[in-house]
């Protein structure tokens, strides 16, 4: 007797679900989001291309301003110059790439601040972007079954892959620890068990690991990229603006035991004021250089490499440092709570602590690097043209091959920016199920040769999200997973400030003294 839903009812619900949602839906959502918003975000981050023209006497500074970016549907340009719409089957047969031209508004601006004039401004083709079959900008999007058959496509084909040089390639979804979250765990150093709080701070493609550990003496040390070894916690927090002892202790915690630990730490402190702290930091990062350079470098390192994710759009620069200090105090609190066993070590296999990178996110990283390379090339061409006293015009300065090559090559070979390989794979066309399984696959970046027992285990949070049975035998058992049948992937929030306002209006209180946005009082 079926106490749950009747089997026929379950089957009907399933069928209804799959008649709406496509099987590779997460690929489409991610890629469409990338095309509509992601590309523009990357361009807006870059905003201008600066050149070295104008550094010499008698020359006006020149820079290029980047405007809106726009992608059309895929077309092919024949040898005789004619251009036609490209359909996926033709791309597969002719071994060409199913890509669409990308246009961007660029303006060359000459002159100093306040006295600038636009020398040339056009929308020019900057390259070609490979388009996912079946996505928004695909030529066969929205075709009926009969139309698909006429154009040579299989109506049952799920799409969700790219066609590069004639071969169909899928971008593998990969899972990573969630960025911008504090994770506490035990670790061993020189045989002793210590407590560590880690955060992967991510901003605009740059991912920095910030560590706060409590050594066997009970002292707190912080380590972050570009600085070798660790820095004393108190020194760093003082350099960020929290000077007095009470402030520091108060920010970490109010619990008496934690306060005791903090006081121990404060006794051992080497610096007392903000200036001293920055000096000490400067000596650390640029030892043997002049004092000025040391200070400059210390400030640069703090702003660039320590917790970069706190540099958000809505926050003032002065507040950012205090925010960083607060964040470090939270990490210290996590360490102490772990030491006092008030808090359990975070489970790195719990899916709440994991995020998935789908095709759109991967393409965004790729587009960012490609755009940077294009910017460098444009800078070089501008400088050279200026040296030969030619007229600067947008169409002669942009080389479309640069961007195209940088986008197609990683998809074709699988070697992604950031040194990962095997990101793009040839679609497994053994049978229809093979295709579906391949599109819904999930890879872990952990090394295949290590045992990683916990990572390979089936975790309770995989219920309803990841298939418990479909995983390969052999070296990648448990590291390569497949999505569950009715799994839905949530997308990230577009506008974080709006999220904060929404939370504030629901009554979530900010940390006292920390104003991220204007607070609206709770309505109830």
């Amino acid at each position: 007797m079926d106490t749950a839903l009747d089997r026929t009812i379950r089957r009907d619900i399933s069928r209804e679900y799959f008649s709406r949602e496509r099987l590779a839906e997460h690929h489409y959502r991610s890629f469409n989001a990338f095309l509509t918003r992601g590309m523009q975000e990357v361009v807006d981050e870059k905003a201008t291309i600066d050149t070295d023209i104008g550094d010499k006497e008698g020359e006006e500074p020149v820079h290029v301003e980047l405007g809106d970016v726009r992608v059309v549907t895929p077309r092919v340009r024949e040898a005789d110059g004619s251009e036609e719409l490209l359909y996926p089957q033709e791309a597969r047969l002719r071994n060409i790439t199913y890509s669409a031209p990308v246009f961007m508004e660029m303006s060359i601006v000459k002159g100093e601040e306040g006295d600038q004039r636009v020398v040339d401004s056009t929308e020019t083709k900057i390259g070609r972007m490979p388009i996912m079959v079946g996505s928004e900008k695909c030529n066969i999007a929205g075709f009926t079954d009969q139309e698909l058959i006429d154009i040579g496509e299989d109506p049952a084909d799920p799409g969700g892959y790219f066609i590069v040089n004639g071969s169909e390639r899928v971008l593998m979804t990969s899972e990573d620890l969630a960025p911008n979250k504090i994770l506490a765990e035990y670790d061993t150093k020189y045989g002793d068990e210590i407590q560590v709080a880690k955060t992967f701070s991510q901003r605009r493609g740059y991912r920095a690991l910030v560590l706060c550990e409590r050594t066997r003496n009970g002292l707190l040390e912080v380590s972050f990229p570009s600085v070798s070894g660790s820095i004393n916690f108190v020194t760093l927090v003082r350099a960020l603006g929290l000077e007095s002892d009470e402030e520091i202790v108060h920010k970490v915690s109010n619990d008496p035991e934690v306060v005791k630990y903090m006081l121990e730490n404060l006794e051992e402190a080497e610096v007392q004021t903000e200036e001293e702290a920055i000096e000490a930091l400067g000596k650390r990062v640029a030892s043997g250089q002049g004092k000025n350079y040391q200070l400059k470098r210390a400030n640069y390192v703090i702003d660039r490499y320590l917790l970069p994710h706190l540099h958000e759009d809505g926050v003032e620069e002065e507040d950012v440092r205090i925010n960083k200090a607060h964040y470090l105090c939270r990490m210290a609190e996590a360490c102490f709570e772990l030491a006092l066993q008030r808090r359990e070590a975070d489970d790195k296999d719990h899916y709440a602590n994991k995020r998935l990178k789908v095709s759109g996110d991967l393409m965004k990283d790729l587009f960012r690097t490609a755009l940077n390379k294009l910017a460098r090339d444009v800078k070089y061409q501008l400088e050279r043209a200026n040296m030969r006293n030619r007229n600067l015009s947008v169409s002669t300065v942009v080389r479309s091959d640069v961007l195209t090559e940088r986008l197609e090559h990683p998809i074709a070979t699988g070697n992604w920016v950031g040194g990962r390989s095997g990101v793009s794979q040839l679609v497994d066309r053994t049978d229809f199920m093979g295709v579906l399984s391949h599109l819904r696959r999930l890879r872990s970046p952990l090394s295949r040769s290590q045992p990683h027992f916990e990572a390979r285990d089936l975790h309770a949070t995989q219920w309803g999200r990841i298939c418990p049975s479909e995983t390969p035998e052999g070296p990648n058992c448990g590291l390569v997973k497949n999505f569950a049948q009715a799994m839905e992937l949530s997308q990230n929030v577009e506008d974080e400030q709006e999220l904060k306002r929404e939370l504030a209006s629901m009554g979530v209180q900010g940390i006292p003294g920390l104003e991220g946005t204007t607070r609206t009082p709770a309505d109830d």
Binding site: R77, A79, D80, G81, E83, E84, T396, R399, D401
Partner: protein, 322 residues
Amino acid sequence: MTRSTRQRERLRETDEVETEDQEGVRACPECESDNLVKDSDRGELICEDCGLVVEEEKIDPGPEWRAFNHQERQEKSRVGAPTTQTMHDKGLTTTIDWKDKDAYGRSISSKKRSQMHRLRKWQERIRTKDAGERNLQFALSEIDRMASALGVPRSVREVASVIYRRALKEDLIRGRSIEGVATSALYAACRKEGIPRSLEEISEVSRVERKEIGRTYRYISQELSLEMKPVDPKKYVPRFCSELELSEEVQTKANEIIEKTAEKGLLSGKSPTGYAAAAIYAASLLCNEKKTQREVADVAQVTEVTIRNRYQEQIEAMGIHG
């Protein structure tokens, strides 16, 4: 028995070389047919008509290994990319691989990494030696840029690079801008490969004015004795028609018009772009997909007057009531 097989072969080969055409298309020495087929199983070149074995014991230039998928092929292959004339070093210099890993696949220490970074930088800089090479490098990158802006295929780039190298060797660049000669080389290459781009189109992507391109081109083609046939207006038809979004029917009709009227000698002395534009205009009228003279003129970058004149001449010759 007086001569060994090897010597007999060598004699036969020298005979063969004489009967060969310059292009390498050979004729059977006995029956004069050109139906020669390679049999790779036995390494022979045989005549299909009379059965003569023209060449035997041909050495197979392929690899000694087999590969069953792309990955295997990558691993076993010991050759790199083909040499190309589009790079100033013909693609022959090597670079240090971007991956910071040693031969075992392990990551290398940070000191070694920065050392490798410096080595890469210097290797990049050493690639270009003297002024001549720098000139070549700049010109080749200009050709590359313009070619990708125009969307012409790789083969045209190679031809253009070869023409430029010849011009450099004959010292024709003296007194002219590098961009000018590079642009003319590209223009010549496009014409040679049968996909001509009009001077207007080329001047759009070039840093040089149209007149100078024309002048430099005439000089270069004369000095290097590039034999250039006059441009066939039919070559412009597909591009203009696709820009005007006209159907295949119009294209075929336009080609027909061009063929018929060119036979009657209307083409001589007239600009091929204008001629093609007029033929397209006429075809569009005939196939009821009318485009205004203005539109056609914009696409072909000629004046409306030119189109009107050529059009009148063409329909007169075709005998159609205009």
